[in-house]
Amino acid sequence: MRNKRSPPASPATRLAKCPTGINGLDEITGGGLPRGRPTLVCGGAGCGKTLFAAEFIVRGAAQFDEPGVFMSFEETDAELKANVASLGFDLAGLVRRKKILLEHVHIERSEIHETGEYDLEGLFVRLNHAIDSIGAKRVVLDTLEALFAGLPNEAILRAELRRLFRWLKVKGVTAVITAERGLEQLTRHGLEEYVSDCVILLDHRVNDQIATRHLRVVKYRGALHGTNEFPFLIGDDGLTVLPITSLGLNHRVSSQRISTGIPRLDAMLSGKGFFRGSSVLLTGTPGTGKTIIACCFAEAAARRGDRVLFFSFEESPNQIARNMRSIGLRLDPLVDQGLLRFHASRPSLYGLEMHLATMFKEIATFQPDVVVMDPITSLMAAGTDSETKAMVTRLIDYLKGGQITSLFTSLTHGGHSLQQSEIAMSSLMDSWMLLEDFEGNGERNRVLYVIKARGMAHSNQVREFLISNHGIDLVDAYIGPSGVLTGSARAAQTAREKAASLASHQDGARRKRELESKREALERQIGGLRSEYAASADELRQIDRQVGTQTRLLSVERSELERLRHADVSMPERERGKPIEEKKR
């Protein structure tokens, strides 16, 4: 019976791991449980120890072709089969095919009387027989502590347990031993003393009336492992451990841009909208229009032909659809076309991890291109801030891994720390828009800022955000020496500016008219001078002519005189005078 198989070969090789097949656990432990060694799984009542063990065995047989023995000290074979059937595994079939052997060990304290020395060789024989009959590689003992209740002599029991674990190691099977959580130690009966290779602690905590399960690898000899507490959940397909950073930061990125559904908002985001696959945070105080912007985005995406999944934590789908009709957004046709899908649930319905799992499942089945969560802050009611942050991180990881654009709205409460309260979450986001109320002049007006938008030159301007019955519009807020003006103050300022501009316009026209008439006067003056000039030129010509006539007359007169006086001198003068005379003639 004591099968003396040589212990696992060279210790120099790296610790061999035995994959559990449990979602997420193999990532945390770097490949699974230590192969050929016992692992202790401890936890309080109802935290999933038996399920953990059952999944280890069932997945081992079904996925890794490693037959397993499930030795149960609490549940009968029939009970076990029923329990595992809920995981969607065909345990009965695996048992029939001799992949799994269920062995129920029943101890009834009242039937047992102790008389002298004994050992647990019977258990060893049965276990050995079970292992050998199907060639098991995996063994579960659930839970050994029943022995402490059934057998009175603890000294013998402890000695035998020590021998059992040593024997399991020699046998070379990978064993999972479950144990009840103790008050001051990991297990009620100190089993961790014997199982020293790997200890996993399961925990089921209630915070604010909402229960969350956690898993922690307390110890893993010879291997690196995640030391955090990881939330895990029990769903239709067994346990899912949710490593916070399972996906790392190496998502594929897209440079494709998608519209926000609001043209002016697109314009603020360097004209094209968000990057596909990015995460967007929309924070705002109550009543600032977060849901409306989210719906605009969703509607625009669905109209483009993207598949949109809308998680609503506050309003029912019908209520959202009705409210959006009032601003001219018709969501029903998109829902009917199957492009838009609402998933509404109360945040307090279940714990965060369950929410996350539900979301993962919805996302996996609907395969959306765009996911909207309205509002993510409601989930804080279901967990602490740090838990919510961890959850959002995982969610964003998951969405980015699938190139899904996500928009989260976040409710901030009035006061001074509008932005501070979101710091934890905002650092995870690629784009962040802030909606705010401006109060003044007896009215509240909404304004919108783009606080950050990774990878694009976004506008630094404040925009006033108007909701009318035909949708959303963004208008430039008035920025003047007295600060930002919105609403009627902005309208009044605009009117004032209009009046001022009218006045200056009129003033200009008047000055123009003045100048015009001045110019006309000058022109008239120029006309007068010009006619005066013409007149004097005329006169000058007249004078010239008169002078010429007089000269001729004079010379005629003179030659007449000479002729009369018979003068014979000054011929040249005669000659000279002649042509003139002839010319004149």
């Binding site: 062995e103 047992i112 008389t115 647990l120 019977g122 258990l123 049965r126 057998l151």
Partner: protein, 110 residues
């Protein structure tokens, strides 16, 4: 009926005093000193209290594992009182005669 270890002879006797017939089964693993001691202790007790109306069957579960499962045997040695009802289990080498008698309901406790 069931194969007993040849080294340990089966003893059966019918009592005239009582109609009750005792049917006992002793589970052992191999011929260890402890199992031999248990057998001899049991024989002694039976001879003195149940003379002629008992049957002891010794089963070595190393060879007959299925019996161990049926009777839910963990500790070795285990004595099972199969008849008269109810079934009772006594573990250990039966060296504490008083406790064996109480366990077998041959003497009331205290």
């Amino acid at each position: 009926m069931k194969r007993a270890k040849p080294a340990m002879p089966r003893r059966a006797a019918f009592s005239s005093k009582s109609a009750e017939f005792w049917y006992l089964r002793l589970y052992v693993v191999g011929e260890t000193p402890r199992s031999l001691a248990a057998f001899s202790n049991l024989t002694k007790i039976c001879e003195s209290h149940l003379e002629g109306r008992y049957n002891i069957e010794v089963i070595d579960i190393a060879n007959h594992t299925q019996f161990a499962n049926g009777d839910q045997i963990l500790a070795i040695p285990t004595l099972v009182r199969r008849l008269p009802h109810p079934v009772r289990k006594i573990i250990g080498d039966l060296s504490d005669t008083e406790r064996v008698l109480v366990g077998l309901n041959l003497r009331t406790a205290g």
